[in-house]
Point group: C2
Chain length 417, copies 2
């Protein structure tokens, strides 16, 4: 029964995707603006639906952090609407000719962007992901199947109802956007087998979810996996800049994937840098753990164990290590990092480029906080997730990353010899 329901959803999405691929930019933008308008106009209805989820969350004893992520209010609805309007302003990636060249035989060969087709997204909690995923997928000409967390089911049903209505009014087929409205877990298992109809699955959420998807999907997956990020304070760093960046990377929002987990400090400036830095971390409530060299400089902190270098705390905990060289910092990151978001603080030109080139991460920073690894911060409007793999795309995913390409070839009778 669930299997049949999921198959029907997938099949409908596939059929719709062929129509959506050809919808012109004006209709897409109209739909996004109408979605924004309808969301705001339906605030009361949305908040009422959300209340049901919030009550259930309290009964179930979800943490206050989880409850906060689930909550929607007038202000957050306005933010969702803003995000829709922002995506409407972005350039439509479909039919962009990425490059074109002429062959000696006169063939004009080009590469043009196309929608991917049908995209499934599996996510947890935050209802704004529903809106972001819908807006990015439709603007990039894809059909989308949404599978939100069970704790947000009432909110998501209300949200998608409004979004679909606006999309259809603007000229989209009804099945352009579908929510899987059963919370049964087998629905995900069935979804992952629909490779006949679905072109891409994006899981966003905890480690267990990602693993389930990667291990069971016969559909290509773009992972949004964990983040174990570093800031390296180089021997040539401006120490004040280093202090601000490290503090921001650790404390501005410690629960997210692009927060810093380990601070690497060059031995030449460690003695000068550590005391004030560690004091500020402590003032911010950070549980600091240091390597032996760090403890020689500031003794009243915990010992970092071998395990610490491989731990994604997602909390106000930090491990600090003194390294002998830039190469040692790059090696440490290669061995312990998750290759998501890595930063160097330095004033040296050659060393900045060495770090940029040799650190093999989705986002590599010079003199800025690791916290900027985010679709909005990069100017992509919204984000569909942050790819932690190398195939297809890497790092924050916006509209362009939701497209494929095809070759188009203009001839005048060429045949092959």
């Amino acid at each position: 029964m669930i299997k049949e329901k999921i198959r029907q959803i997938a099949q409908n999405a596939k059929t719709a995707s062929r129509k959506i691929a050809g919808i012109n930019t004006k209709i897409k933008n109209d739909a996004l603006l109408k979605m924004a308008k309808h969301l705001v106009a339906s605030s009361d209805q949305l908040i009422e639906a959300n209340l049901k989820d919030m009550e259930y969350a309290k009964q179930k004893g979800l943490s206050s952090a989880m409850q906060d992520r689930l909550l929607i209010n007038k202000e957050r609805i306005e933010k969702m609407a803003d995000s829709l309007r922002e995506v409407a302003l972005l350039t439509d990636p479909v039919s962009e000719i990425v490059k074109m060249w002429r062959r000696p035989n006169g063939l004009q060969v080009g590469k043009i962007r196309t929608p991917i087709g049908v995209i499934g997204i599996i996510y947890e909690s935050r209802p704004n992901v529903t809106v972001d995923a819908a807006s990015l997928c439709l603007k990039s000409g894809n059909a989308v199947i949404l599978r939100g967390g069970s704790e947000a089911i009432n909110t998501n049903i209300a949200l998608t109802g409004i979004l679909i209505k606006a999309a259809v009014e603007s000229g989209f087929p009804e099945k352009a956007l579908q929510l899987i409205d059963v919370t049964d877990r087998t629905a995900v298992q069935e979804l992952l087998k629909m490779d006949e109809y679905i072109d891409l699955i994006i899981p966003r959420g905890g480690h267990a979810l990602i693993r389930t998807v990667v291990e069971n999907s016969s559909i290509p997956v773009i992972k949004h996996d964990k983040g174990l990020c570093h800031v390296f304070i180089d021997s040539e760093a401006d120490l004040k800049t280093g202090e601000e960046i490290a503090l921001n990377a650790k404390t501005q929002r410690p629960s997210v994937c692009n927060a810093m987990e380990t601070l690497l400090v060059h031995k030449d400036i460690a003695e000068k840098f550590m005391p004030s830095m560690i004091r500020r971390f402590k003032e911010a409530g950070v549980d600091v753990r240091g390597c032996p060299e760090t403890k020689k400089i500031v003794s009243d902190i915990k010992d970092a164990s071998d395990e610490d270098w491989d731990t994604e705390y997602l909390d106000l905990i930090l491990s600090i290590k003194v390294v002998d060289s830039l190469n040692a910092a790059i090696d440490h990151i290669a061995h312990h990092g998750s290759m998501l978001s890595e930063a160097i603080v330095t004033t040296d030109y050659d060393r900045s480029w060495k770090f940029l080139r040799e650190v093999d991460a989705a986002s590599v920073y010079v003199n800025a906080s690791t916290r900027f690894t985010d679709g909005n911060e990069f100017g992509l409007g919204a984000e569909m997730g942050i790819s932690t793999q190398k195939l297809h795309c890497r790092g924050p995913m916006g509209l362009e990353e939701l497209t494929s390409t095809k070759y188009i070839i203009f001839g005048n009778g060429q045949i092959r010899n």
Copy 2:
């Protein structure tokens, strides 16, 4: 034992890949030119090794087509060397900044090409794939693991020995290029599990091989799957051009994936087009099968069954169908095509663009033969395969398609609020 051997190869490749990623273009090009030189200089040795494979092929009773694919001689060695020299001339894709923009907070955000890491390729018969894969992977900064067909094992051992020697002399690490020199089938199974070390698997070969890889790989796969290609002769076609293109697409080399399997003809020109066209197919030895409308025009051909529209003949067999409209042609292709290589013959501007936009295939042609879907023909130098999927890349894969990207971000102290 085989498991341990494969793990060692994969691990060595991973270690080597970090060094290769930083090798500069001059060294890469020197290596490719040296490989070309060494191949030619070692012709006798290569031909001797190939003789062993050829003898075994004869004993085993391989078809003459298979034997021909396996054979190498002076001329074919020269061709391999040419291909290496051509790849040396291509622009190095690594470190190309694809785009860069400035954010309101002053951050300069860019996307830069990087190698993928370790690429495994599993292929059958043709020894030139060994050379093409090696040259493209090394030039794009990747380590490569080659798994050729068992029937070519002696040739491939000789070839890779020469290539590795040249690469090492030029400054590549020894494990940049490795051949799996055991022909045992379990080696492939083990290889497909090495997701800790290998970033991408490319299978090239028959349907059974592709299915085995897709079903058993925990590593991301780029498929090089079957081709069921169409040529559509539009109502507005220049009929002479249509005849030449259709004949070429079917007969120039019928055994390959980009050959035409079904010819679609617009009803308005069918009566004028069919007689001469079908006569020429027959002269070329093609077994022609027609729909009822086709048979009304030319009666002495076989009936096409429903099955024919879904059959990749890879042989001198052709099914012909009369369609009522451009839309009907596009629909037929959507339902029966493998979305590899599709062509329209028309003199009409709007209809050419409608076909280009709406046919969702890796390569879509106006007024040229489907047979051009090939890395060399597109000017990519050599080709690593032809992707028949939408994720990462689609169509012929050259150097660019063997890269990933990362974001690089230049700041001057930015922190997130």
